[in-house]
C-alpha cells in the first residue's frame, strides 16, 4: 500500500497579466511526488518549468498570479494557505535551491550567520545547537573543514562550493520537499557530477522528495525516478523515467531526444525540430506544438485532453507515436 504523496499538484493554472495581454505561463499542470522520490521537470526556455516551482511556493510576483488548481502538500492546499502559513513552510518543510546561489546567499553576511538565522527562524533553539546543526549540514554536502569555512563570506567560496552551501541551507530544517531550479546549469561538469551524486544520496537517505527543474535531459536521466516534459506551459508527457526516455510517445519528446548529439551517428546531420517555440501571446488554438509537429493535422486545433495510454503515463497529444499496448 503506497503512502500518500508528499506533493500533489492538480490542474494548476498560473497566468501573467501584462501590457501585451494575458499569458498562460502554466496551463493545467498536474503531477505528484512521493516520499523520497525524485521528479525531473524538463523543458526549454519559456516552457514554464521555473514558474511551476515558484507557483508551488507562492513566490510568483505580479503581473503573474496563480488563478486555478490545487497544490496539496501533505494534504494541505498551499494556494489557499495564508501568508503566515506559507512563511512557516518555506525554508522549513519546503525548500528551494536556485540556479544562482547568490539568490540564496546574502553577500554581506557570513555563512554561519545565515545558516543559524535560517534554523532559528523556524525553531526555538539556542545558538550553539544551531551552529552544531549547521556544521553537520555543511559536512553532509561535502564541504571540507566545515568549522573553519563556516566563518567565511560567500564570495570567498568558489561557484560549486556556494551552490553546496545553498543546498546545505535548504537541508537545514529537514524539509519534506526540495524544489531545485536548474542548480547545476552554471557549474562545470566535474562539479555537477559531485552535486548530482550527493543530491541523490541525500534523498535516498533522508526520504526527502525532490523536484529537479532543468533543460538537460541527460542530467534527469541519471538522477530522477520520474519525468514531466513541459512545452509552452503545458505538460506534454509524463511518466516513469526509463519508460519515457526509452519509449517516448509525444512528438516533442521524440524530437527532443532525437536532437541530442549522443543519439545521432557521429558526423551526420542531427535530427532537428523545425521552427521555434511560439510566444505565449501567440499560441495556436489547441495543441501548442502543432506548428512544429511532423504529424500535425486539423484535429490538433481542438483542445487536447490529457490521456493515460499506460498506467502511470500521461500525455497531451492527438498523435501519440506508440500505442498503449507497448
Amino acid at each position: 500500500m503506497t503512502e500518500k504523496p508528499i506533493l500533489e499538484v492538480e490542474n494548476l493554472e498560473t497566468h501573467f497579466f501584462t501590457k501585451a495581454g494575458p499569458a498562460k505561463a502554466i496551463d493545467n499542470v498536474s503531477f505528484t511526488v512521493g516520499k523520497g522520490e525524485i521528479m525531473g521537470l524538463v523543458g526549454e526556455s519559456g516552457s514554464g518549468k521555473s514558474v511551476t516551482g515558484f507557483s508551488i511556493l507562492g513566490l510568483v510576483d505580479a503581473p503573474g498570479e496563480v488563478v486555478g488548481g490545487k497544490v496539496l502538500f501533505k494534504g494541505e492546499n498551499l494556494i489557499e494557505a495564508s501568508d503566515k502559513r506559507l512563511q512557516e513552510l518555506r525554508g522549513n518543510k519546503i525548500s528551494m535551491i536556485f540556479q544562482d546561489p547568490m539568490m540564496t546567499l546574502n553577500p554581506v553576511l557570513r555563512v554561519d550567520t545565515q545558516m543559524i538565522e535560517t534554523i532559528r527562524a523556524h525553531e526555538k533553539v539556542d545558538k550553539e545547537t544551531a551552529r552544531q546543526r549547521s556544521r553537520d549540514a555543511l559536512a553532509q554536502v561535502g564541504i571540507p573543514a566545515a568549522e573553519e569555512r563556516m566563518r567565511a563570506y560567500p564570495h570567498q567560496f568558489s561557484g560549486g562550493m556556494r551552490q553546496r552551501v545553498a543546498i546545505a541551507i535548504a537541508l537545514l530544517n529537514k524539509p519534506d520537499l526540495i524544489i531545485a531550479d536548474e542548480p547545476t546549469t552554471a557549474l562545470d561538469v566535474t562539479i555537477q557530477g559531485q552535486i548530482l551524486y550527493e543530491a541523490q544520496k541525500l534523498c535516498r537517505e533522508t526520504g526527502t522528495a525532490l523536484i529537479w527543474i532543468t533543460h538537460d535531459l541527460a542530467v534527469v536521466a541519471g538522477l530522477a525516478d520520474k519525468i514531466s516534459v513541459m512545452y509552452a506551459g503545458r505538460i506534454v508527457e509524463q511518466g516513469d523515467i526509463d519508460d519515457v526516455l526509452d519509449h517516448p510517445v509525444h512528438p516533442y519528446t521524440i524530437g527532443l531526444l532525437g536532437s541530442v548529439p549522443g543519439h545521432n551517428t557521429r558526423g551526420t546531420r542531427l535530427h532537428q525540430i523545425p521552427g521555434m517555440t511560439p510566444s505565449l501571446f501567440n499560441l495556436p488554438k489547441g495543441c501548442a506544438f502543432q506548428t512544429r509537429c511532423p504529424f500535425a493535422d486539423t484535429t490538433c486545433t481542438e483542445d487536447q485532453a490529457i490521456t493515460r495510454p499506460i498506467p502511470g503515463r500521461a500525455i497531451r497529444c492527438c498523435h501519440p507515436q506508440r500505442e498503449a499496448a507497448q
Binding site: E44, A218, P261
Partner: protein
Amino acid sequence: MTTHMLDIKNISKQFVKRLDVVAKLTNHLGAKNKEEVVHAVDDVSFSIAKGEVVGLVGESGCGKSTLGRMVAGILTPSDGEILVKGRDVTNTDGKEAVDAALQVQMIFQDPFASLNPRMRVEDIIGEAPVVHGIIPASQKAAYVEEVMARVGLDPEFRRRYPHQFSGGQRQRIGIARALAVKPEFLVCDESIAALDVSIQAQVINLFMDLRDDLDLTYLFISHDLSVVEHISDRVVIMYLGRIVEVSPTDELFEKTNHPYTTALLNEVPRIENRGLDYQPISGEIPSPLDPPSGCHFHPRCPHAMDRCRTELPLLQEVSTGRFAACHLMDEK
C-alpha cells in the same frame, strides 16, 4: 610538407595585475604585496589542417576561451607564435594584419551581448565588408540579404534590431557577421551553450552545412563533450592552462590516455546512464592564481605519484596522432 591552416607554437598568456602606487609604497615599508599573475595559457602548441574540425574541451579556468581569443586576434599572446596558412600573424601590422585578421573569425557565446543593440542587422553584418572594401557600399543591401539567407534568416528582417530576434536567430546573425568577411577559419567559443536544446541542433547542423559548402576549418570550443564528439575530427583537452591530451575523436571515446579525460568522460551525463553509481572525482578546480606544482592535476588524480608533484609532464606522442601529458604514459 603541407601548410596547415593554423599553427600554434608555444603560446602563453599571462594576465598580470600590477601593483599600484599604494601597494608599491607599502612594499617599501615592509608589506609583502605581490603582483597577481594568472597563467591563463601555458606553453600550448598544436596545428589544425584545412577543413578539419578540432574540438577544444575543458572546464572553467582551463584557458580555452583565452586561447580562442588569441587565435581570433582579439588578445595578443604574451609569448609564442600563431601562424595562419604559414604566415606569422602575431607580428604583422598594416594591410597584412588586416587580411590575416579577416581570415580568422569568431562566433561568440552570448547571443545577447555579442550584437550591438543599437545597430540594425544589416549594419551589423554589412559594416565590415564595406569598410574593408570587400564589397562596394552600393551593394551592401544585396550582399547582406545573401549572407542572411545562407544562415537561415529571412532577408526581409535586415532592417530590424537585435532585440527583436530570439536567441537562436541572434546566434545566426553572429554567424552571418563572421561569414560576411569571407573567412577561412572560424573559432566557435561555446557558441551553442546558451541556446535551447532544440535550437542547438539547428545551429550544429548549420555549422556542418557551412563546413561542407564553404570549405571552412573550425576550432570548436565547448564544455559539452557530447556535442564535441559529434562534430569534431580531433579533440584537444585542456586543464588549467595546459593541454593534457590530444586525440582523434573516435579513438578518444574508446580509450583515454589521461586521468582527467577519464574523469570528464565519466561525468558527462548521458541519457543512457540511469541511476548514478560511480564515485565522482573529488576536489575543486584549483584557482588559476595559485596552480598546484608539477602536474596541475595531481591533487585530484586517483593515480598520482610522487613524481607528479614535482615534475611537469610534457605533451608526448603516445601513439600515431595521440598525445598526452601524463607521467603514467612513461610507465607503459
